[in-house]
Symmetry: C2
Subunit: 508 residues, 2 copies
């Protein structure tokens, strides 16, 4: 039987309604709570008598303060809740409660493997792609035109190559390229140009006069070894396209010789993200992904959690989990940088929640953040990387990104070769460069979006599965998808959201 | 015979080398100047003896100060020139030299016409397009998938419709949507959604949970009348696509009944832009476009010039030309806003020039700006609109935009139904929503990019045509293209750069 409500923690004085139809006034649970008014699914019910000024507690944490008396059984609506101040960044505990290393999965000390494409520099691909990188948006339509022709005329002769990707973006010129913050989009695009799924064979198309010259894009210290085609050197459009086609064919011949082989799970870098979250996200899909994250870490993988404004209000729960004080300080540094960035634009972290989040029962950014960090599981935080940097460490890593789905995904592509995306309201998001595994917070969404959602974590809310069950299922599915044995729905339909590099610097 | 150099103004003490091969040491002009060293095309030669600290004068204006002695005939390189301070915004002359109204073209008091698609609200289309607007990037791949199917399966049955456009962008969620600067991308997208080339029939695809809700995107005060499809209401991907296809077919039936009819040139709104400029731009293509702009204004059209950082250093030449003090003050307001915006990101207008600009002979932003404003011709400046606002006035208008090609084009799309793009280094830029007429500053580029450049203004440098000749040619070509009698090269190849709305506000 579907429970009346779901309480995330034994200290909570609010819980969320489970039934998709909502709950009518007069409904009672076993413990004697009587619901006083109709409350829709995912919205909060008061479990105890709450006075004005009392903390409202979910996940065992204060998500806000009641600004009026709230009787037990009442609908606790957004406007009854005052937003608390964000935790101070000045006196946080640093590495004071570091989780012990988790044991290998199933006691398998040799570690799990997946079938990947090994790269010379030590990484592994989950897909075998030809990537055509662009230095500037001016050349994007030319490259897209060429890619359409490559896909229809040339790619069919190279069946071991999965796809050809035009790595286009809205950056590269018309920007203050020496401004301090320009480093972020540039390094993001640099790492994407050398993505593990491109097998070390990426091709670069440049205009010629742009600010983001190929040398600047690809290598602050290394020589530029990639094939670079400059359109301003070509004799017009048809010749430009012909040149790209010839270069692509050379690359496809090389890529077509690659084969999958067993790779240690330590070559898997999994980016975690949530988008269109609801109040279930923090008790179903996100903790299930957290369990999968623990399994991945135990099997040797790297797992990225991100989205600064969705960890900011839970920072006091994360700094103690950092493996040492330096990592904790790096985490605080990223929070502080983003606080200042938002303040420069007359905003703060309270600007994060969307209309859909609120309709889905998330009253404010504190409640959203507490649910969001459940994705990070329970292992120690082993490292922190800044916006668009490539991860070097193994284990659980905080990779700073905005929370914006497409910007977060773009920055995680600097490192990840597989993406897990949880959603409550539903998003048909996908990426061309890596498989995106989509997990729903509610069964109703998984049923409605039967051809978009890969795994339904809503079964946890209705008692049909445990967090452990779904966590294990995600873990196994990730290994299947990484190995090419299974495809995600986003891959099935070919859904690839355009890259949107984070550019906090000015455009000119 | 090709002249040795091109002097833009009789007061100038520097000029640019014309010959594509450059000029060797020892070359002499008729007036007795001997070139002292090899100077490449488009680079500057000193015409007189210049002392350290002397102003370097081009276009009759100081483009910088010599930081060393420069002998006549020497190559005046970038590093010899100190950048002057930008003109102060505090004591500019306001509307002190307003040009007299220009006479109608050819004395035709009834005005020119073009063959356009008349819209109910008084505007006219230059193309007949079905536009499918998106509120948020999450839905972009779904809409692009649907548009591919519409184009191949449905559009062929509606031959009077030119194309189907997925109006996708990287905005709509993950942003501080109530931050003051968020108004800019929102109004840009609002006006684009109701573009004159969509014939009042645009369709909107929304996710459902996004920050930029359809009501917020489309109407601060009007009711939302457009067809809106919300993917979160649909039962999965295949049904979402089917729903978009059905709605598109309804719209195509209506659009297919439209026919071109004579429209007054006052319904033409022409956006001007330069991209990849060189030192010829300011003496060939830009003044020719300026002459075409004068003709268009005289025929009743609206002409937009833009690119704040490329008018900033010439602002003292523009405020006197404003039709009244209010317009001049609005122009100054846009300069000041952008100065502050750049300063917030630790940059200023000197960040504008690109490596290609400099290779092409533009020493700094002052020289670039003086060449850029030549596009604005010689008529009075009748109005100023802020970033992404839709123009209401007729005549020559300053529409504030960044100088970034793709961002400027996106903001001009809020108003324009035809685009003129001048280039020195060459850019294969195009837009899906309006024809883009491309004009080269040099003949060498027009010859090399024979299938991208529509009009060669380089003939002006070599004496094969006058500014008047090319200006008239552009004017006639614009009317032909607007009327659908001719296509631009960008249209021929289907080159459409993605929209990049200017977002000075923070992402969350």
């Amino acid at each position: 039987m579907v429970p009346l409500y779901l309480r995330a923690h034994s200290d909570d004085n609010v819980a969320i309604i489970v039934d998709a139809e909502g709950v009518r006034a007069g409904a009672r649970d076993g413990g004697g709570l009587t619901v006083r008014e109709f409350i829709p699914q995912a919205q909060k019910v008061a479990l105890t008598s709450i006075s004005a000024g009392d903390p409202l507690v979910r996940y065992g944490q204060t998500i806000g303060y009641a600004n009026r008396v709230i009787e037990p059984g009442r609908w606790v609506r957004e406007e009854m809740i005052d937003l608390p101040a964000a935790p101070s960044l000045d006196d946080l505990p640093l590495a004071t409660a570091v989780p012990a290393p988790l044991p290998p999965v199933d006691g398998d000390t040799f570690g799990y493997t997946f079938e990947g494409y090994r790269n010379a520099e030590g990484s592994a691909g989950t897909r075998n792609l030809l990537g055509i990188t662009t230095t500037v948006q001016c050349v994007a339509p030319t490259v897209e035109y060429a890619v359409r022709r490559i896909k229809s005329e040339i790619l069919p002769r190279y069946p071991n190559v999965d796809d050809v990707i035009a790595v286009t973006h809205g950056y590269g010129c018309g920007v203050a390229i020496d401004a301090p913050d320009a480093a972020i989009p540039i390094r993001t695009l640099r790492h994407i140009a050398r993505h593990a799924n491109f097998g070390g064979e990426s091709l670069v198309v440049s205009l010629g006069c742009e600010k983001l010259q190929p040398g600047r894009l690809l290598s602050p210290d290394l020589p530029v070894l990639e094939d670079v085609i400059r359109l301003q050197h070509a004799h017009g459009f048809a010749e430009s396209v012909a040149q790209i086609l010839r270069a692509a064919e050379r690359k496809l011949e090389i890529l077509n010789r690659r084969r999958r082989e067993p790779c240690p799970v330590s070559q898997l870098i999994v980016g975690l993200q949530c988008g269109g979250s609801d109040a279930f996200s923090g008790v179903t899909c996100n903790p299930a992904v957290g369990r999968a994250a623990d399994l991945l870490v135990r099997a040797g993988a790297t797992v990225l959690f991100s989205e600064v404004t969705e960890v900011r209000d839970a920072i006091h729960l994360l700094t103690p989990r950092c493996i040492n004080a330096d990592v904790a300080r790096a985490l605080i540094r990223e929070m502080r940088w983003y606080d200042q960035y938002l303040a420069r634009g007359s905003a703060d972290r309270s600007a994060n929640p969307t209309p859909g989040n609120k309709r889905g029962g998330l009253a404010n950014i504190v409640e959203k953040a507490l649910g969001s960090i459940a994705k990070a599981g329970s292992s120690a935080i082993c490292g922190v990387v800044g916006h668009g940097e490539r991860v070097q460490e193994r284990g659980l890593i905080f990779a700073a990104t905005p929370a914006s789905d497409f910007i977060c995904g773009t920055e995680q592509l600097a490192s990840m070769n597989l993406h897990i995306f949880t959603t409550g309201e539903g998003s048909p998001y996908g990426l061309s460069m890596v498989p995106v595994v989509k997990i729903s917070s509610r069964t109703a969404l998984a049923e409605k979006w039967h051809d978009l959602i890969d795994i339904d974590a809503g079964r946890i809310a209705t008692g049909r599965a445990t967090i452990d069950d779904v966590g294990r299922e995600i873990f196994e599915f990730v290994l299947d998808v990484a190995s090419g044995r299974k495809k995600t729905w986003a891959e099935h339909w070919g859904l690839g959201n355009a890259l949107v590099p984070f550019n906090p610097g000015p455009v000119t």
